[in-house]
Amino acid sequence: MEKQEEERKTLQLEKILDKAVGLGASYADIRYQDYDFELITVENKALKSYSSRRLSGVGIRVAIKGAIGFASTSDLRRSSLERTLGNAVKAAKSIKSEKKPFSATKINETNVKLPIQTNPIDVSPEKKVSITLEANKAAWISDEIKSAITNLGLSSDARLFISSEGANVRVETSLVGLQHQSVAKVNGVMERVPYSESMCAGFEFIQSKDWNSFTADISDLAIEAARSKTPPPGTYPVVVDPEILGVVLHEAFGHASEGDLVFTGESVLHNKLGVQLASESVTIVDEGMIEGGYFYPFDDEGTKKERTVILENGFLKRYIHDRHSALQFLVDSTGNGRAQDFESMPIVRQTNTYLQPRDHKLEELIEDIDFGIYVREKGWTGGQVEPGMGTFTFNVGPSKIIRNGEVAETVREVVIGGSILETLKTVDAVGKDLKIVTNVFGGCGKGGQRASVGIGGPHVRVRKMTVGGR
């Protein structure tokens, strides 16, 4: 990415910073980004589309008398950069604010690259199409499979952050993965199972995996789901897979720990610091770099993302912050100021949020449940949370009934729901395994911005979970 360095130099972004200060800004930062994304879609054994996208531009943030203004442009000509600065200044001046904008932070100067072998964007299109086609063909395991879609997603992202305080932080990463969905029809019942696997890595990750058995297994599960019943609705003890635990924690608890939502009172964790919210076996962490998760050494405000323990042995220890929310709480930023891209302003976001493993084996979690559900991750489609009350709902994959301490038949269309603070109190056993995953195809949405995150944890047992069914 030397080319990017060159481009940046010709842009003379530092001069724009100086100009911002000259226009009355007490603080200014500029984020320059160069992003490549490729999405290859194969549907029913034929290449449907090959989309390739390049995004580059500059976002300028200024603080004037405590008010924050932001503007961005993908037009990198000098005149455009100056107009963009003008827009940011105008936006800040239109707001009346008495607050100081940002907490103090360590000023970093660094350049960090995810170690990769092969840049996925540079691999030949033939190779990428062929892997996706083969994986799709492998999903047609029987006449019961009616449709199969396979996506290969490849991204490369370089971000530069400079500020009027002297920060200069450059981070380069790459995220790749494959997503597949099979639709099966058995005796008139149609079911779909989508699933994906991604990794912050180069193309070597794509080449290292057997995607043909990955898609065939998804088809198997779709057929099994179409043959099965829905669970009886009610409230039960459940054992949940790591990805489901991870996504529920991220959505229902992690977001509630975000300083901006706490500050406005929107969060269910408002005024709960120091309070015991879960059993002593529950510790929840947000960490920038961890195996399987999203590579995030520095945030989009140039702050180092370290390990933040949010909930420790059941007690709420701290919230996560960007520099703006940190100031409201008179603490330091935890390195969670993240922006989707140069067109968005950093807001408080999680990085890799997970529950720390303890000491139980999976069988031990299951064996003393008389009747319950083993909530599975493969095939989960998503969820939503109402942050003010902590109400959550998730559509999980085809799951298993637990009967007399043993895993029994498959059930489909399983929806779990609850209120996070009540559900956390009923987590009574935590497994010793740990799985953290990230995703090139999706990510977390907040305030109209998406961000790549990592989620996960061990298997856990929850004593009370509402399960929808018919």
Binding site: A46, R53, T73, P125, G265, Q384, M389, T391
Partner: protein, 431 residues
């Protein structure tokens, strides 16, 4: 460079977004120029997109698209791109007042809304909200020497409040999307969001069971869009993914159900004169008196089925292929006012807001949603507020015999439009 066909799609947009809680937090302006090039080499296609402006970039984009297309396998169904552009007489999708809005007017409007929420009740505080306005200019040109252009505006407003009283918490959310600045009544949204938060301070789950369900218009509009948009998409039908495949002309719903896709209605969220392939938009009957009449087409799927495009090509993002998607999906309203519907219900629940309804499964028709705001209905009146229960049912079964009453209060959630409806008893998972 060897391409037999090419289509350039350029979107110039300016978005202004203001965010607030108890005060305005920030403003941002985003200006973007996004360019997408789609090429075909015989029956091989590819696309390349870029946000970069310099002149060399366009020829680089063309070279890259051609390079990809060369190695793509042939698509036996590919015929050609849309050769001839056209415009339908759509109106109400551009507002010059919105384009020329200045920050000051937005600030004053938001400050007024914030004050309405705060002054409604001492227990209420606005916790989050935003307003987003955009003006977008789309131009399309092709290698058949045709070109076309459209300019549109839109505004979305969203706000949430929280009420706290003696450890009890209630929240209220309101949102609206429109094409014109003046269409959004910020004060009205603010008062409703505040009122809702107070009313739901005492909301509780109820026991599991089966009950009649009345669903508020915007929520039912979401459900309609989530379940039907895919299955009526000709691409899903052709690829075997739609449960509505081979059902044209069949009675798939009861006779009181009429659903249209209307790309030319005045002021609709997705109203426009032509779709993302330059094909004129139109009004398409989807379900008439319960009978499935049409699927929605883009150029590719239309040529495959030997029919005309319905003007439904939509690029989810500028860098993605145009796929058939509804323009404005509308369930036609009936006669009953929402008050009448409640009045005629002896016992049941009225659903004000849900989360997760968008996760309902269009393939199996499984409808589920977690109720965050609802009321028990007792003897024709709204009674205790409820929350945290999951409703489930099958949408296709509901279409056939489960939509008992259709309200007269059509409202949109984005591009989906529906009235309030009353459904036959559904399963409710509660405490």
């Amino acid at each position: 460079m060897g391409a037999t066909e090419a289509e350039a799609y350029v979107q110039k947009a300016r978005t202004i977004r203001g965010e607030f809680s108890e005060a305005i937090e920030n403003f941002r302006t985003v200006e973007s120029i996004e360019k997408n090039l789609r090429v075909a080499l015989g029956k091989k296609t590819a696309m390349y997109s870029t946000s970069i402006l310099d002149e060399g970039e366009i020829s680089k984009a063309a070279a890259k698209a051609v390079k990809i297309a060369k190695v793509a396998p042939e698509d036996p169904h590919w015929k050609h791109m849309n050769k001839k552009f056209g415009k339908a007489s759509a109106e109400g999708y551009y507002d010059s007042a919105l384009e020329n809005l200045d920050y000051q007017e937005v600030v004053e409007t938001l400050v007024s809304a914030i004050n309405r929420m705060k002054s409604y009740d001492a227990r209420v505080r606005p916790t989050r909200g935003f307003v987003t306005t955009y003006v977008s200019n789309v131009s399309i040109a092709n290698s058949y020497n045709d070109s076309t252009e459209r300019r549109e505006t839109g505004i979305g407003a969203w706000m949430r409040t929280k009420a706290e009283d003696n450890g009890m918490k209630g929240t209220g959310t309101e949102h609206q999307q429109a094409r014109f600045w003046k269409e959004i009544n910020f004060d009205d949204l603010a008062v409703k969001a505040a009122e809702k938060a107070v009313k739901f301070l005492k909301a509780k789950p109820i026991s599991s069971g089966k009950m009649s369900v009345i669903i508020r218009n915007q929520i039912f509009a979401n459900i309609l869009g989530v379940i039907l948009s895919g299955p009526i998409n000709a691409d899903w039908v052709q690829k075997g993914r739609s449960p509505l495949s081979n059902k044209l002309g069949n009675q798939i719903a009861s006779e009181n159900i009429n659903i249209v896709d209307d790309g030319i209605m005045h002021g609709g969220w997705r109203t426009k004169p032509f779709d993302d392939e330059g094909y004129p938009t139109q009004r398409t009957l989807v379900i008439e008196k319960g009978i499935l009449k049409n699927y929605l087409y883009n150029m590719y799927t239309a040529l495959k089925d030997n029919v005309k495009s319905t003007g439904n090509a939509q690029r989810p993002y500028y860098w993605m292929t145009p796929e058939p998607q509804p323009n404005n999906l509308i369930m036609k309203p009936g006669e009953a006012s929402p008050e009448d519907i409640i009045h005629d219900t002896k016992t049941g629940i009225y659903i004000e807001d849900t989360i997760g309804e968008w996760l309902s499964n269009p393939v199996s028709g499984n409808l589920n949603a977690t109720v965050t705001h609802g009321y028990l209905v007792k003897n024709g009146e709204l009674a205790e507020p409820i929350k945290g229960v999951i409703i489930s049912g099958n949408f296709y079964e509901l279409l056939q015999k489960g939509i008992e009453t259709i309200g007269n209060d059509l409202r949109n959630s984005m591009h989906n439009y529906a009235p309030t409806v009353k459904l036959a008893p559904l399963t409710i998972a509660g405490k």
